[in-house]
């Protein structure tokens, strides 16, 4: 019975996580003149040297994974709500939940692997 309340609470929590980390992303990418500490090589934030420098830290890969998880949950929960509003039969409601869960887990695994791999690559350079 608690399922809907739990999903909604996580949805709101994921929204807050997105707000914080997406805010951080925007600040790094677009306030680089002010926040130069994330661009140790100087120049543009997406210059290779800066990307490698951020990838070497533990902080950035962790935030990438957290943002990925939050964005996937927030977005897929919203998509589920839209699909449920089409009033599908009960069996399809369950199937939608399972498919979205599997898609979310798959994309999360792929994205988390990419974040870890980039960290490994950056530290080896």
């Amino acid at each position: 019975m608690m399922r809907d309340a739990k999903l909604w609470t996580w949805h709101v929590a994921a929204g807050i996580v997105i707000l914080v980390f997406l805010g951080l992303h925007m600040a790094i990418m677009h306030l680089d003149e002010i926040l130069g500490i994330f661009n140790p090589a100087g120049g543009h934030p997406i210059d290779w040297e800066n990307v490698v420098a951020r990838g070497r830290t533990v902080f950035f890969p962790v935030t990438y994974i957290l943002l990925l998880g939050a964005a996937l949950f927030h977005g897929l929960y919203g998509l589920r709500n839209i699909l449920l509003e089409l009033n599908p039969p009960a069996w399809l409601k369950g199937a939608i939940g399972v498919v979205l869960l599997l898609v979310g887990l798959g994309l999360f695994a792929l994205g988390a692997w990419a974040a870890v791999a980039s960290h490994t690559l950056a530290t080896s350079l």
């Binding site: 019975m1 608690m2 399922r3 809907d4 309340a5 739990k6 999903l7 909604w8 609470t9 709101v12 709500n81 449920l84 509003e85 089409l86 009033n87």
Partner: protein, 274 residues
């Protein structure tokens, strides 16, 4: 609309399940008089053109909630809507959407009433004896009253349910009226039923499908704001889920005034019948 108008055209959706395969529209011209409401016009149509036309109405003053219908595309009370407010001489009247039609302008409100009943829209307390055989009044301050007062103006007309886009597509969603009323009792300082209602509200009967279109509040003829009640309810439920909600005890009995006696000649109140 001109004050000099003498006639209005009523476009009414008819449906008799025993006779018609599908609803159909009929038009009637009736004389107009200043101050005429949509309900007055319906009576005129019945008197002059369509004696078999069916609708619900009772109080004629926006109190009973019987005459909710779709008037020129917007849910509202027929008795509370002046024809002059519509800005046109064409009055299109249909039954409230999102409900089955019993006949003509009569919607089947039973799903709404059932959803309302399930969410226990009454004061719930552990002290059953005091509830059943009251010895006094439960204390409530004016500030505590303000927490739910506007939601208690609901007359259960169903206009909010007819306007709700979520209820239109998801019949398992309780809808704005039952949820607003559940919040009305959850916010009442005399009530101790939050935990009991929470069991239902945490699930699919709860407010989670509401995406705050706000149509329920826009059409409410009593100025109740069910959309606000639903958002406040979500907050309470999330806080409760996170165990951050401060549990409240229902208020106790108010002190009886001292040193005041009954004046001579005033009889005792009759024994409660309920």
């Amino acid at each position: 609309m001109s004050d000099t108008m003498h006639e209005v055209t009523y476009r009414i959706r008819h449906f008799d399940p025993n006779r018609d395969a599908a609803p159909h529209w009929e038009e009637y011209r009736i004389p107009y008089a200043p101050g005429m409401t949509v309900l007055d016009g319906l009576w005129k149509v019945k008197e002059l053109h369509a004696p078999g036309l069916a609708w619900r109405s009772s109080c004629r003053m926006g109190v009973c909630g019987s005459c909710g219908m779709l008037i020129n595309g917007k849910p509202g009370l027929a008795c509370n809507t002046q024809i002059s407010e519509l800005g046109t001489s064409l009055v299109a009247v249909a039954p409230l959407p999102n409900f089955e039609i019993v006949r003509d302008l009569v919607p089947d409100l039973r799903p709404m009433i059932e959803a309302h009943r399930v969410l226990m829209p009454y004061i719930l307390r552990d002290d059953v004896e005091e509830r059943e055989n009251p010895t006094g009044e439960f204390w409530q301050s004016p500030e505590e009253l303000e927490h739910y007062l506007q939601f208690s103006y609901c007359i259960k007309c169903g206009c909010c349910m007819a306007a709700c886009p979520t209820y239109a597509t998801d019949p398992s969603y309780s809808g704005p009226m039952p949820l607003g009323q559940a919040h009305r009792y959850n916010s009442d300082s005399r009530d101790g039923g939050f935990a009991a209602r929470r069991e239902l509200l945490f699930g699919e009967k709860g407010p989670w499908r509401c995406h705050f279109a706000g149509e329920c509040s826009r059409v409410c003829p009593k100025g109740v704001d069910p959309a606000k009640a639903i958002q406040l309810m979500k907050r309470e439920l999330v806080l409760s889920f996170l165990r951050l909600r401060r549990a409240k005890c229902p208020s106790g009995l108010a002190k009886k005034p001292e040193g005041i006696g009954r004046r001579e000649g005033i009889p005792e109140a009759p024994a409660p019948t309920v």
